[in-house]
């Protein structure tokens, strides 16, 4: 079976070679959107694949796996989606975040999944880039280096930010009384 990289390279001259990529990765990309923009995931999936197809010539196999590249494309599509939602400026200011940050949608998901309020609050506090890196690893099962490539920060920066995020969570959640948490305790 051809690798993702081989298919993408071949798709430059044979468009049909791109189709197996859609079949292989649609579930992962749809999940990415469903977690961050529920209700729009189907449309965003199609948009992401269109962009990936249009930009396939920019991909270089030596620069990382296709999977991480596709999540980078998806991230851009998601950011454009949230900017297009035109959240009220006051709400965005209160949230302290860029309007393209899907955190409020993510937080609603965490709330619905009965994730402990303390964890949600702790996740809300760090810089958005830390949170995004952590969720790419927890939910999209990317490696830290792949997550760094998706977010577009140097891998070294990502490593230190991830360490901080983890320490923050361990410190905040580990010191709490167990009964105050809904989530499992290590």
């Amino acid at each position: 079976m051809a690798t993702d990289e081989e298919l993408l390279a071949r798709s430059g001259t044979d468009a049909s070679a791109f189709e197996p990529l859609v079949e292989r990765h649609s579930r992962a990309l749809h999940g990415y959107f469903a977690r961050r923009a529920p209700g729009a995931a189907d449309d965003l999936l199609a948009e992401a694949w269109l962009r990936a197809y249009a930009g396939r010539g920019t991909y270089d196999a030596a620069r990382g796996p296709v999977r991480a590249w596709l999540f980078g494309v998806a991230r851009n599509v998601l950011a454009a989606h949230w900017r297009g939602q035109e959240r009220p400026a006051a709400a965005a200011a209160l949230a302290g975040e860029a309007s393209s940050d899907p955190w409020h949608a993510v937080d609603r998901r965490l709330d619905a999944a009965a994730v402990a309020p303390l964890m949600r609050r702790t996740l809300a506090e760090p810089p958005a880039v830390e949170r995004e890196l952590l969720l790419l690893i927890a939910w999209e099962q990317l490696s830290p280096t792949e997550a760094a490539a998706v977010v577009g920060v140097p891998a070294g920066t990502a490593r230190s930010r991830l360490h901080r995020a983890r320490t923050r969570l361990r410190a905040a959640l580990g010191s709490s009384a167990p009964l105050s948490l809904t989530g499992d305790l290590a």
Binding site: F18, A41, L50, G55, D60, S100, A155, H163, T167, L181
Partner: protein, 327 residues
């Protein structure tokens, strides 16, 4: 890269409630119709391309334009900031910053004779990171990074060169307060500290802004080809961050002297030791803020080292090694 620097899921997702967090990410798979629609869209695009609709479309860059923005409240000024004339000349000539001149590790830069803008910014570091298990090594790991407009190329201790370029989304970005500053933005940033701070912070508010700004400035000072006046402005903003503490004449782990800027960030204490002649960072140090911080099976005490990055040399470079072949 050494084992102590590697970080995997097991290392990261070991906090209480991680299982619940993972579970919260479970979603139903896309419907067959949704995948079929995506496939149809691609086929349609491919058909249009085959009919000669034009060249491959470049992806639009997801960023905000760099402009001076409305001034915000003035932050207190703690230290006079003067740009070293030597630093201006050095950067203008493309001379690498090599404060550790007595080290054999410092490499000479071939860029010293050139005056145009170099395509790479080369950073040589020694990194130490506390392991979460009992197998802590005492030494650090050397790493060289070549940053460029399109991304990052890294050569850790194992010698293999990895490339993490992001040409599809605009390349190297420094994310500050949730907004990206791209490589090409650096020359457009204001060098007036108040205007620069307004540009970097934007509309971000809340308790996390101080740490976010601190982290972002750290990135710009350590991993970007920012010019001296911009570095000076960044330093002034850094020292004016609420809660930041400035201590002069602090030694880094190699004995070099600089000005320390500390910030307490939750359970961490962040420290940057900066050469105030060039505004390059000599060392970045994170320590436990209080006694009792859990780290694997260890209980840290206040001041215990969590991670440290020592900047051995930084400066422009005209060449970077080719990425190693993927296996």
């Amino acid at each position: 890269m050494t084992g102590q620097q590697d970080m995997n899921d097991g290392d990261l997702l070991d906090f209480p409630g991680a299982g619940r967090l993972r579970a919260a990410g479970k979603v139903t798979p896309p419907s067959a119709d949704a995948v079929a629609a995506a496939l149809a869209a691609v086929r349609s695009a491919a058909a249009g391309r085959a009919e000669g609709d034009g060249p491959t479309v470049e992806l639009e860059l997801e960023r905000d334009p760099v402009t001076a923005v409305a001034p915000v409240r003035t932050w207190r000024r703690r230290l006079p900031v003067l740009v070293s004339a030597a630093a201006v000349v050095a950067i203008a000539l493309g001379i690498a910053f090599q404060p550790w001149s007595d080290s054999s590790d410092v490499q000479s830069s071939p860029a010293a004779e050139r005056t145009e803008t170099a395509p790479y910014w080369k950073v040589r570091t020694l990194e130490w990171m506390r392991s979460s298990d009992e197998t802590q090594r005492t030494d650090g790991a050397y790493k060289t990074v070549w940053l460029s407009r399109s991304g990052t190329r890294e050569q850790p201790a194992n010698g293999l060169v990895q490339d993490y370029s992001r040409e599809d989304t605009g390349g190297t970005a420094y994310v500050i307060c949730g907004k990206p500053v791209l490589w090409d933005d650096l020359k457009k940033l204001p060098t007036d500290p108040a205007a620069l701070r307004a540009r970097l912070v934007g509309k971000a508010t809340g308790e996390g802004v101080a740490e976010d700004l601190y982290n972002g400035i750290e990135d710009l000072l350590t991993q970007s080809p920012a010019e001296p006046r911009l570095r000076a402005a960044l330093f002034e903003i850094l020292t004016g961050i609420p809660g930041a503490r400035v201590t002069e004449r602090v030694k880094d782990s190699t004995g070099r002297s600089g000005t320390a800027v500390d910030l307490d960030a939750d359970t961490w204490r962040l420290r940057l030791i900066i050469d105030t002649g060039t505004f390059h960072v000599l060392e970045s140090v994170d320590t436990a803020r209080n006694d009792g911080l859990s780290w694997g099976k260890q209980k840290l005490r206040a001041g215990d080292l969590i991670q440290r990055t020592t900047y051995l040399s930084v400066g422009p470079a005209w060449e970077a090694p080719k990425p190693s072949k993927r296996t």
